[in-house]
């Protein structure tokens, strides 16, 4: 009787211990990274932005099964919305807690604009239309400098307001409790908080009536409709939710960088986010987080290791770091897809899907 009740208790104790350990590690991380180099804090912040994007895209692709190759457009919409609402470009300077939600809302509207005409499309056809949508948004941003200058074209928008929250200015280094909190470190904590919120939302959605409806349309749309699911509404909801997360990430990106241009929102970025979702484990929130973290850090690690390794081995540079970096990166992707086709940390559903094709 005692052993029966002790086992789950030990189990939950292990979970709690792990959680506390992870929390301490996440809190201490930026200081450890600063010791290595401030660049690594920035890289981490960018990685968190990609986690946000991947979690957003996972709703559309992983949960609802709608292949979206233009997802970065929502990131762009969120980023430009923030930039236009908080920069000298129009002389508007809304605080971040107003500008980011507005950007997210506009992104959601764009999500519905993309979703509504594509409701009847699936698979390859949907992929092509969404790909076109992503490009259209980027091209519009590139050209909307005439006749009225709205986006400033390819030059992009500069001097975007950094985030100010209460008395904290995220652009400056401030001392607190004897520790120096640089701008990137403060952004790290803000991003961490947003990321935890988005993970929480993702997990809650996955195990809900709405999450099941998404699974149903992914599995069999006709059966889903016949069981009373309004597939049009539930698909639009997926597009809108995914776009909202993209818009939030975009607004934060804008504020952190202080500068944006259409170049940041090219097709390759959409494909990168999709790779994170697929490699990490489509449909599983934790797998997607892992995928985004890995695919964000591995290329950076290679950037910093490829050159010194060559110098020590051969005494000089044989292959450009950029070339070998992409080569190794591509190889890693291929290997993962061969050995773990459902992703590194797949959802149970996806595992079954590949087991019985």
């Amino acid at each position: 009787m005692n052993t029966g009740s002790a086992r789950p208790m030990r189990h939950s104790a292990a979970i709690w211990g792990g959680t506390v350990l992870l929390a301490v590690a996440l809190i201490a991380l930026p200081f450890a990274l600063t010791a290595v180099g401030t660049a690594w804090v920035r890289i981490t912040n960018l990685a968190i932005l990609f986690v946000l994007l991947s979690l957003g895209l996972n709703i559309v692709v992983g949960f609802a099964g709608l292949l979206d190759l233009g997802y970065i457009a929502f990131y762009a919409v969120g980023a430009y919305a923030y930039a236009l609402l908080a920069s000298p470009h129009f002389g508007v300077h809304l605080p971040f807690w107003i500008a980011v939600p507005i950007g997210a809302a506009i992104a959601a509207v764009f999500g519905i604009l993309l979703g509504a005409p594509t409701l009847k499309l699936r698979g390859d056809y949907l992929a092509i239309v969404t790909l076109g949508f992503g490009e259209i948004v980027r091209i519009i941003l590139n050209n909307l400098s005439q006749p009225i200058n709205i986006t400033n074209g390819p030059q992009g928008i500069t001097l975007i307001d950094p985030i100010r929250l209460g008395g904290i200015d995220f652009a400056k280094t401030e001392a607190f409790l004897g520790l120096a909190f640089s701008g990137p470190v403060k952004y790290y904590y803000l991003l961490l908080a947003v990321m935890l919120a988005v993970i929480f939302i993702g997990v809650r959605l996955q195990n809900s009536r709405i999450g099941r409806a998404w699974e149903a349309i992914r599995e069999d749309e006709i059966a889903a409709r016949s069981m009373g699911i309004n597939t049009a509404r539930i698909k639009l909801l997926a597009f809108a939710m995914g776009a909202t997360f993209g818009g939030i990430a975009g607004g934060m990106f804008s504020a952190i960088q202080g500068f944006i241009s259409p170049e940041s929102f090219v097709l390759v970025e959409s494909i990168m986010v999709l790779s994170m979702v697929v490699l990490g484990g489509m449909g599983n929130v934790w797998g997607v987080v892992l995928g985004a973290v890995l695919l964000s850090f591995v290329p950076e690690l290679l950037r910093y290791t490829v050159e010194p390794v060559q110098r020590t081995l051969f005494g000089r540079m044989l292959i450009e770091p950029e070339v070998i970096r992409m080569l190794l990166f591509g190889l890693a992707l291929v290997l993962i897809m061969i050995f773990r086709p459902a992703g590194i940390w797949p959802s149970a559903v996806r595992k079954r899907e590949l087991a019985h094709p």
Binding site: I210, R225, M227, G228, I229
Partner: protein, 267 residues
């Protein structure tokens, strides 16, 4: 006599040059098990698809308890109280049996995005009720032990029962079954027959497409026979079985033996 539950008036459906249905008119009374039979290609599945809103462009009208369902989308039809199964099983194959039935509860439950995220007392209660009901229904159709198995991994007969459980989860007034006994052995078919009678006893009217004539003759109160999309006979199974046009429609077809056999063994 019980009042009419479903009324179909002059239903017709064309696929290019093929007139799959024409002039189909019938009424199902509450509490009936109403059979829909006919040779392969007679248009039975097409009638289900028209009725459940899958084929948007069709002629004719439908009324469920006097309410006009003509032209409604499939999800609206389900919300009005018609649930169906599919001849070529359409389960959510990679989801568990339990999840399949839980999805059937969608149309009778409410939690939205905010509810899912906040997960307040009401949402938690609703989720618990959904799961409880889904387990009850798995039990009801006799596959509770398979609750956590992937639907696609179940035995054929169990998949057919799971489809019935999922349809029942939508709380239908009319349950429309498209060849539920297909692929079942004699024991499974006998169990299915008991299940159908129990569903009817629990107050749900059944529209049954079935090729297994023994089953049709045993459970149906009335049957409608379609041939080339046209109704050729309607009535109690015993009458329909003796109808010259029905016998002719089936002659030479693979079912001919079945009709004769069912006639021979029926009391």
């Amino acid at each position: 006599m019980e009042p009419v539950l479903l009324e179909c008036r002059n239903v017709a459906k064309k696929f290019g040059g093929v007139q799959a249905l024409s002039g189909v008119t019938f009424a199902i009374r509450r509490g009936e098990i109403y059979g829909l039979i006919g040779p392969n290609g007679a248009g039975k599945t097409t009638l289900f698809n028209v009725l459940s809103g899958i084929y948007a462009r069709a002629e004719g009208r439908f009324f469920l308890e006097g309410r006009d369902l003509t032209g409604l989308a499939p999800d609206e039809v389900a919300a009005c109280g018609i649930a169906r199964t599919f001849q070529n099983i359409r389960l959510f194959a990679n989801l568990s049996a339990l999840e399949n039935v839980m999805i059937g509860r969608h149309v009778r439950t409410r939690a939205g995005v905010i509810g899912a995220i906040v997960r307040g007392a009401r949402t938690r209660a609703e989720e618990a009720a959904i799961e409880r009901r889904a387990i009850e229904l798995l039990d009801y159709v006799g596959i509770r032990a398979r609750a956590n198995d992937a639907a696609g991994s179940l035995a054929y007969g169990d998949q057919r029962r799971l489809e019935i459980a999922r349809a029942l989860a939508t709380e239908p007034r009319l349950l429309a079954l498209d060849e539920p006994a297909a692929g079942m052995n004699a024991a499974e078919t006998a169990a299915l027959r008991r299940l159908l009678e129990r569903i009817r006893a629990d107050g749900i009217t059944i529209l049954l497409i079935e090729h297994d004539m023994r089953l049709v003759m045993a459970v149906c109160d009335r049957v409608l026979v379609l041939d080339y999309g046209v109704p050729i006979a309607e009535g109690a199974p015993a009458e329909v079985r003796r109808d010259a046009r029905v016998i002719e429609a089936y002659l030479g077809g693979p079912i001919a033996g079945d009709v004769a056999a069912a006639g021979a063994v029926a009391p």
